[in-house]
């Protein structure tokens, strides 16, 4: 079980975004994608999620070309949370999480079966949203709202979870809360996580593997301590940085100045 990207090239409106990308995302891991703005991180994620379907090359999920997998079947195996999420003002947490069961229902019938009810209940419990179940999603705080969207993705019972900068606009406590839930989902449910992260320290702290994208291609791919070096930060981001161990012994990156 894995996702295999072969020779992927993407052009958007005549501009090359990704060029001949080959990469394999290993099953059961949490992989962080990092890189400068405009390098093609989100595009890679969108292609993996079948949100962007015009590309050259091939993507194999467990050996099967994702072009051959129907949208609904795909949504049962892979959940994605893109950026800029919004819902109508009166949609409650319970209703939103229930939408995660959409790929399991036939086009003509919306009735819930036991699996649906269990999946929604456990997703809400998992994200600690029981008390907020009847609240409107858009009236929640940023962190609670993000948890509600994660619960929707969890209700899809996917093998893969794709996240595009899940901690944007959150304060540090809610950032950690969201990342903790994601890690827990990975550990307890074996969900393979692929996430675009802005904050390199989150990548250091929460990822098993890091993919660095630069100039429309893969610059590096490996475990955090191998990939995240002062040299790499200088070459990819043009930033002089310091990497050291904090009082708990974890690696921390501190940007110092532009090169």
């Amino acid at each position: 079980m894995s996702v295999n990207v072969k020779n992927l090239s993407v052009e958007i409106e005549g501009k090359e975004i990704l060029h001949n990308v080959d990469i394999e995302f290993t099953e059961g891991k949490r992989t962080a994608i990092i890189g400068p703005n405009g390098a093609g991180k989100s595009t890679l994620l969108r292609v993996l999620a079948k949100l962007n379907t015009s590309y050259a090359g091939q993507i194999l999920m467990d050996g099967e070309d994702i072009r051959d997998i129907s949208k609904k079947k795909y949504a049962r195996r892979l959940a994605v949370l893109p950026q800029g999420l919004s819902a109508p003002a009166d949609v409650t947490v319970g209703a939103l999480v229930d939408y995660g069961r959409f790929p399991y229902r036939s086009w003509h019938s919306g009735s819930r079966n036991e699996d649906d009810i269990n999946a929604v209940d456990s997703a809400i419990r998992y994200t600690k949203l029981e008390a907020l179940r009847d609240r409107q999603v858009m009236s929640l705080s940023g962190g609670e709202r993000q948890r509600a969207w994660i619960a929707m993705a969890l209700a899809q019972q996917p093998d893969y979870l794709l996240l595009d900068e899940p901690t944007t606009y959150l304060d540090i406590a809610h950032q950690l809360e969201v990342m903790d839930i994601v890690r827990q989902m990975n550990r307890e449910h074996g969900i393979t996580v692929i996430m675009v992260l802005h904050d390199i320290n989150h990548a250091l702290q929460y990822a098993d593997e890091i993919v660095v994208i630069k100039n429309h291609g893969i610059y590096a791919h490996g475990v955090p301590n191998d990939v995240l070096t002062v040299d790499m930060i200088g070459r990819v981001f043009g930033v002089k940085a310091d990497i050291f161990r904090n009082s708990l012994g974890a690696s921390v990156l501190s940007p110092v100045s532009l090169i």
């Binding site: 893109p82 919004s86 109508p88 939408y99 959409f102 003509h108």
Partner: protein, 327 residues
């Protein structure tokens, strides 16, 4: 779902049904001749009363036409608001009104002897305009914003045609003007026959589409991520909305208010879940058109006001009131 939300929806649905029944009764009773309610019930039981002819041949078909027009326009607007992800989306936006307007008025002014062809001509014009806008907006799939902009441009273009016709044939312009604001006078059984298949088929398709519309409201990316075939759903439901609106507009003229405001009012009252919103808007829309038509008949009797004017005059302020209160 919480008890509060559930109770609120049930309350408003019951209210809509009550309004529907009351408006229907009122619409059959009131007019230049007043028919007592007892006689209406009698007529349905098979008694032949004094006003039997009026009930069967004038009031009842007109009431049914009003109800069907209300259903079709409300559903059309509600669908388009979700499909286009734009609160201003209504049957105008996909060219229904301008297309129907130009072809209808063309027949009315240039070939007044073929007045009976106005309805099919308007229907044809509406559908052609909608298809044309779709083709113009197509570029690697459909994006709502392109449809809206193409719709604005095509509507302006066709609107120029309508204005030109009205100026060149200003001597015959009266009937065209009445039709432009929308009215139900002299609508009868043939119009019922023309409308009901669209109302029925459109309603069925709309209700099957309700869950898809709910998903579509979360945005294209999330909808695709949940396995919805966004492009196909958008095209299919726009086609349903176009048929619903074209059938209504071709029968009663360019009734603008219902398709835009009724779905919004319904949304403010019972929320944005399309499984409830669509039936709610259909029932409420039917009640609104029947009620407004009745008032337009009796308010300035013997002069009959086009229902479109009345609806805008009373509906718009009521809508603003709802908007301020955010019920």
């Amino acid at each position: 779902m919480s008890v509060k939300v559930y109770g609120r929806r049930a309350f408003f649905m019951l209210l809509f049904v009550a309004l529907l029944a009351a408006s229907a009764l009122l619409s059959i009773m009131e007019g230049s001749v007043e028919v007592p309610a007892s006689e209406i019930f009698g007529a349905f039981m098979g008694d032949s009363g004094l006003h039997e002819q009026i009930i069967w041949n004038i009031r009842l078909p007109r009431t049914i036409v009003a109800a069907l027009v209300g259903v079709n326009l409300s559903l059309s607007g509600a669908i388009l608001q979700a499909v286009m992800k734009n609160p201003l989306a209504d049957p105008h936006i996909i060219g229904i009104s301008s297309g129907a307007g130009l072809s209808g008025i063309f027949v009315m002014l240039l070939f007044p002897e073929y007045e009976h062809c106005v309805t099919p001509a308007a229907f044809l014009g509406a559908m052609m305009a909608a298809v044309f806008i779709y083709i113009l907006a197509w570029k690697n799939g459909i994006r709502p914003i392109r449809i809206i902009l193409a719709g604005v441009a095509v509507s302006a273009f066709l609107g120029a045609g309508i204005s030109a016709l009205m100026i060149f044939y200003s001597d015959r312009v009266h009937s065209a003007l009445m039709w432009m604001v929308g009215g139900l006078s002299a609508r009868s059984w043939p119009h019922v026959m023309m409308l009901w298949p669209y109302a029925l088929a459109g309603s069925l398709m709309a209700f099957f589409g309700a869950r898809h519309l709910n998903i579509l409201q979360l945005g294209d990316d999330v909808a695709k991520g949940l396995g919805l075939r966004v492009e196909i759903v958008r095209i299919a439901l726009t086609a349903v909305a176009a048929l619903l609106a074209a059938s209504a507009v071709s029968v009663v003229g360019l009734l603008g208010f219902v398709g835009l405001i009724v779905p919004h009012m319904t949304r403010l009252m019972i929320g944005s879940d399309y499984r409830i919103l669509l039936p709610g808007a259909a029932i409420f829309g039917a009640a609104v058109v029947m009620f407004s038509d009745t008032i337009s008949r009796v308010a300035f009797s013997p002069i009959e006001l086009p229902v479109g004017i009345l609806m805008a005059v009373f509906g718009a302020p009521f809508f603003l009131f709802l908007l301020r209160r955010q019920v």
